[in-house]
Amino acid sequence: MTNRSILATASLAVAALSIASLMIGAGDLSPVSLATGGLTAEDLRLLFVSRFPRTFATLLAGAGLAVAGLIMQMLSSNRFVEPSTIGVSESAALGMLTVTLLAPGLPIFAKMLVAALFGLAGAALFMAIIHRLRLRSGLLVPLIGLILSGIIGAFVNFLAYRFDLMQSLGSWLTGDFSMVLAGRYELLWLALGLTALAILAADRFTLAGLGRDVAVGLGVPYGVTVAIGLVIVSLVSAVTIVSVGVIPFVGLVVPNIVSMLAGDNGRQTIPYVLLGGAALVLACDILGRVIRMPYEIPVGTTMGVLGAVVFLTLLFRRRPAHG
C-alpha cells in the first residue's frame, strides 16, 4: 500500500469509529435521524453536551498518547517503553496530588501544568538513569522504567491514603471517558498542538533515536531534542491524566504495530501512529460502552486487557534481527 492509501484507510476507520461513538450510549440516538437531520432539541443537547465531547476527548487522548509513546521510544532507543510504564504518569499523578493538597484553589490549567512539571521530572529521571547505566537496548530499560514507576506509584498511593485522596487518585490513574462532558475535557485539545509539534520535530526525534553520536555528528542538538521530546511527553501525559485518567498500552502497542508495518522514519510514521492511537482508544471506549449496556466499563480496563493481549502477540511475533 502506498502512504496515501494507508493514510486514507486509517482516516476512514477513525471516521467510522467516531460516527459509531456518536451513536452509542445510554440515551438513544438513531443514525437515521442524525443523517436526515430529524433531531429533536433533546438529541442535539445530548450530542453537544456529551457525545461530541466524549468522541473528541477519546480521539485526542488516543492520538496524543500514541505519539507520546513513540517519542519516548525514540528518545530511549527502546521499543518497550511508554509514559505509563516508566513513571511519567505516576509522577504527573504525584503532581496533581501535591497541588490538590497545597493549592486546591488553583485553576485546572495551572494544576495540569504542575502535573506536567512533575511528569517531566519523572521522565528526566528515567532518562538520566538509563544514560548513566549505558543501557541502550534490551529488556533492562523497560524493567528499570517499571521499577521507577512502581516506586513513585507506591509513594503516590501512600500520600493519597494519608490525606484521604484515594478516590481522586483512582480517577487519575484509571482512564475513563464516561465523565467527559462539554466544559470538562477541553484541555485535551492541547494534545493536538503537541502532536503537531512532534510532526515538525519528527526528523530530529528519529535522529536522536539513532543515538547521541549519530545525532551530534549530523549537527542535531541532542540535549535540546531530548528536552523538547520529554516536554511533549509529559504535557500529553498530564493533560490526559487531568481530563480522563491514565490509559495504558496505547503508547506501547500502536507505535510497535506501525514500526512493524511501516518502519521507524518518524516523519512518515507519526501520522499513522496518531490515527492508530485514536482508532484504538475509540474502539476500546466503544467496546466498554456496549459490553454491559447501559453500564460502562472504563477504557483503562478494556485497553488494559486488549492492549496486553496485542502486546504479548507482538512480542512473540517479533522477528529477531539478522546479523
Partner: protein
C-alpha cells in the same frame, strides 16, 4: 586539515588521551593504530565533538570544534563511530538520506537525492536500498552507515574502525573507497584501524598511539618498522617489502 594542540581527556585518575599535538594535512588518509586502550577512539571522538575536551584544542578546517556551532561543523566534518547498535527500523535509503540532514534540514532536494543514490552506489548497496536495517547482515549495515557518512559530503571524514564486521572483500573495497575519496575528491580522512597491514597498504600517514600519547607519527615506511611495531604492540613482527607494498608478518 586537522590540528590538535595538547589535547587531553581523563576519566577520574586515568588519563586516556594525554597531550596529543598533531597536524594532519588535507586530502590525505591518516590511519591511527595502536593497542587496545591506547586512546584512539577517544581522540577521534574529541575531534568530532562527540566527547568534551578536558584540556587543549582541536581545529577542523580552521574551526575550533569546542566552540563552533555543531550544525556548521556538520557541514565540514562527518564521523562514524564503531558501535552502531541501531534498533530503529529505517530503510537503507532513509538512513543515507539522513546524511544530508546538515544540508537540507530534512527536506531533500533533487541534488540531495542524487548524492544519496551516489553514496548508495559507491558502497554497492543498490540492491538493499529499500531494505530495513534490521534485515541486513552486520557488514551490509556497516556499509550503509559509511554511505550515510559519505552522503554528508564533508571535507573531513573520521572513521572509527570502519572494517568492523566486514569480510576481506568488503574490507578491501572499503579501504579502496577511502583511498579514492582522498585521491579523487580531495577528502581528508582519519581512520582508526586495528590491522597494521590495511593501514600500511592504504594510508598516506600513520599515527601510532600508546597509553594516550602519540608514540610515532609519519609516513608509512617511517612508522611500520620492526622496532616501532614491536615496541608499540609488544609483539615480534617482521616487516617485508612485497612488490611495492610494506607488509607486516607476526612471528609464530
Amino acid at each position: 586539515m586537522i590540528e590538535t594542540n595538547a589535547l587531553s581527556k581523563r576519566y577520574g585518575d586515568t588519563v586516556v588521551v594525554d597531550g596529543v599535538t598533531l597536524s594532519l594535512p588535507a586530502a590525505e588518509v591518516t590511519a591511527i593504530i595502536g593497542p587496545n586502550g591506547a586512546g584512539k577512539s577517544t581522540f577521534l571522538s574529541m575531534i568530532a565533538r562527540l566527547l568534551s575536551i578536558d584540556t587543549g584544542t582541536a581545529h577542523v578546517c580552521g574551526m575550533d570544534v569546542a566552540k563552533a556551532p555543531s550544525d556548521a561543523l556538520a557541514l565540514k566534518l562527518a564521523v562514524l563511530r564503531q558501535d552502531n547498535q541501531i534498533v530503529a527500523r529505517l530503510t537503507v535509503r532513509d538512513l543515507v538520506g539522513f546524511g544530508r540532514f546538515p544540508h537540507s534540514r530534512g527536506r531533500l532536494t533533487g541534488e540531495d537525492r542524487a548524492m544519496v543514490e551516489e553514496a548508495i552506489g559507491f558502497l554497492g548497496l543498490q540492491d538493499f536500498a529499500e531494505r530495513y536495517l534490521d534485515e541486513l547482515s552486520g557488514g551490509q549495515r556497516q556499509r550503509a552507515f559509511v554511505a550515510m557518512v559519505l552522503a554528508q559530503d564533508t571535507q573531513t571524514i573520521l572513521l572509527d574502525e570502519p572494517l568492523n564486521n566486514l569480510d576481506i572483500r568488503h574490507a578491501v573495497a572499503m579501504m579502496r573507497l577511502v583511498r579514492r575519496a582522498a585521491d579523487e575528491l580531495g577528502k581528508t580522512i582519519v581512520v582508526v584501524l586495528h590491522d597494521i597491514n590495511f593501514a600500511a597498504a592504504y594510508a598516506d600517514r600513520i599515527v601510532a598511539m600508546k597509553n594516550g600519547r602519540v608514540a610515532v607519527e609519519g609516513r608509512v615506511e617511517d612508522v611500520v618498522t620492526e622496532t616501532i611495531i614491536g615496541e608499540i604492540f609488544g609483539i615480534e613482527a617482521s616487516i617485508r617489502q612485497v612488490d611495492d607494498q610494506i607488509v607486516c608478518l607476526f612471528r609464530r
